[in-house]
């Protein structure tokens, strides 16, 4: 039994156990009925016929979809490679004490977090070409994704830095470190560990945003499914298969996030164990100066 159920309820007595058994049976029947209804619907409209699905066992179709997967991965990777460093820089700028860095960064975050990504995409797809600036399809897709996601990533990073105990940076300052040194040696390393799982979660969102290639007709997975479905008149099967592919990719990413969460946790503990000498080495010049 899961933890919520354990804490919320008493351990069920004989009557409770009987009730749970009845509910289990009833829910099984209900789920079965629902599944049967769905299968019936599909069969009624000829969706279970082999020729609707045979396509997906043939190599040309699979290759066609794999091209889509590859394009999706490339868009995600390129957008992530630009958005993550950009987001981190914007976060640092927003935390900076300089007015000329703080306000532009703040405006950037507030505006790009509030604009729907599709509207941004339309700016690049319909708006800018009217003014004589037409980007290649790939960048029409990537630039809006980067703009929108980097603003969110900046907020995640900022939250991670602010969530760190103030004592950490205060201790660094009291040891005579400058703002930059304290950020570099004390604050950022700890903040990175704290926000890594959230950032991987953001990667899932970024991958989801790549489906907007459907709008700009870039060859990513959803667009490929559309082409396939409309060409062979297998719209529903094509979209269902692609949906399953997305579930597989995103679940792998989520699992990676879990692994990282545990992995970085370990690394923190390990550094803490070995860090006495390192800390002594780090502090010694300051100590010497005070003496």
């Amino acid at each position: 039994m899961n933890t919520e159920a354990n804490t919320l309820f008493d351990v069920p007595g004989p009557r409770g156990r009987r009730r749970i058994r009845i509910a289990t049976a009833l829910s099984l029947v209900a789920i079965g009925a629902l599944a049967l209804l769905a299968v019936h619907r599909f069969a009624d409209h000829g969706m279970l016929a082999a020729d609707q699905w045979r396509m997906f066992a043939q190599w040309p179709t699979i290759r066609f979809l794999l091209v889509g997967v590859q394009a999706t991965v490339v868009v995600t990777a390129v957008a992530a490679a630009i958005a993550f460093p950009l987001g981190a820089l914007v976060a640092l700028a927003r935390l900076s004490r300089s007015r000329y860095l703080h306000w532009p960064a703040r405006a950037y975050v507030e505006i790009f977090r509030a604009i729907p990504i599709l509207l941004l995409l339309y700016v690049f797809l319909f708006g800018l070409p009217r003014l004589g600036l037409t980007l290649p399809t790939f960048w029409q897709l990537v630039v809006p994704i980067v703009a929108s996601n980097s603003a969110v990533i900046a907020e995640i990073c900022r939250a991670g830095i602010l969530a760190l105990d103030r004592g950490q940076s205060e201790a660094a300052y009291s040891l005579g470190m400058t703002y930059r040194r304290a950020m570099h040696l004390v604050v950022i390393p700890q903040a990175v560990r704290k926000v890594t799982p959230t950032l991987v979660g953001q990667l899932v969102r970024l991958l989801k945003d790549s489906t907007l290639g459907y709008v700009v007709s870039y060859i990513e997975l959803l667009h490929q499914a559309q082409v396939l479905g409309e060409y062979y008149h297998i719209v529903l099967p094509a979209y269902l298969v692609v949906a399953a592919v997305y579930v597989a990719i995103n679940m792998a990413l989520s699992r990676l996030a879990h692994r990282l969460e545990n992995g970085t946790g370990l690394r923190v503990r390990r550094t803490r164990k070995t860090s006495d000498t390192a800390r002594a080495r780090l502090i010694s010049p300051f100590l010497r100066r005070t003496r």
């Binding site: 789920i31 509030a114 009217r130 979209y239 997305y246």
Partner: protein
């Protein structure tokens, strides 16, 4: 700019569709999300499995895939409803999975010791929920639910990709028909910023209202 003023009725209709989708979508998603969270916490194993599979599937498939699946796929098995209904239902189903997660982690913030103490004092299950779990869980759920509301507001724009002429769709139409790309995008951006700011403000208000003054 004149074209925007001349056709402001059209733009207002787009805004109305956006708001309608946001409010109906969020209300349905909230109801379904609560139901899913109840199933997920219940001691009945098949229900729990059903809810967790639902959450995993709906969270991991991009919203746009759901939209095209519902709008272009479902008519093939004879499920054809009005475009707006279909889109709103798809959005409600998608966001319900996220709301379910928020509610579950909200319930998890209540320390188990308190629930055990209440049981030791003879509280019944309903009383525990009413006096102990819900008041505390609600407080920690306001902020994440507000975030979901804002995300849902922004994501209603995806409906434009399947042919609903809401705010973003109207912006596209204005660009192509009246050739005024920059002003119309500025106006729609301003409207979206206004909507998200209002959402944030209401969330902040609610949070302060529900907070315990220590």
């Amino acid at each position: 700019m004149n074209a925007i003023i001349d056709h402001s009725g059209q733009l207002a209709h787009g805004l109305f569709l956006t708001l309608a989708m946001t409010i109906c979508g969020f209300a349905c998603a909230l109801a379904l999300g609560v139901l899913l969270a109840v199933l997920l916490i219940s001691p009945v194993v098949p229900m729990r499995t059903l809810a967790s599979v639902y959450v995993a599937v709906f969270r991991n498939i991009p919203l746009l895939v759901w939209l095209v699946l519902f709008v272009f796929g479902l008519p093939e098995i004879g499920l054809l409803y009005s475009l707006l209904t279909t889109v709103t239902v798809a959005m409600a189903l998608y966001w319900a999975a996220f709301i379910c997660e928020v509610i579950r982690s909200g319930v998890r913030t209540v320390p188990p010791g308190q629930i055990e103490a209440a049981r030791a004092l003879g509280f019944r299950f309903i009383q525990i929920l009413r006096h102990l779990v819900l008041p505390q869980a609600t407080r920690s759920m306001v902020q994440p639910l507000g975030n979901i509301f804002i995300a849902l507001t922004l994501n209603t724009s995806l409906a434009a990709a399947v042919g609903v002429r809401e705010l973003t769709g109207e912006a596209q139409v204005f660009t192509i028909r009246y050739d005024i790309p920059i002003p119309i995008f500025a106006v729609t951006t301003a409207i979206y910023v206004l909507m998200t700011l209002t959402g944030g403000l209401v969330t902040g208000r609610l949070e302060r209202k529900l907070a315990i003054n220590r």
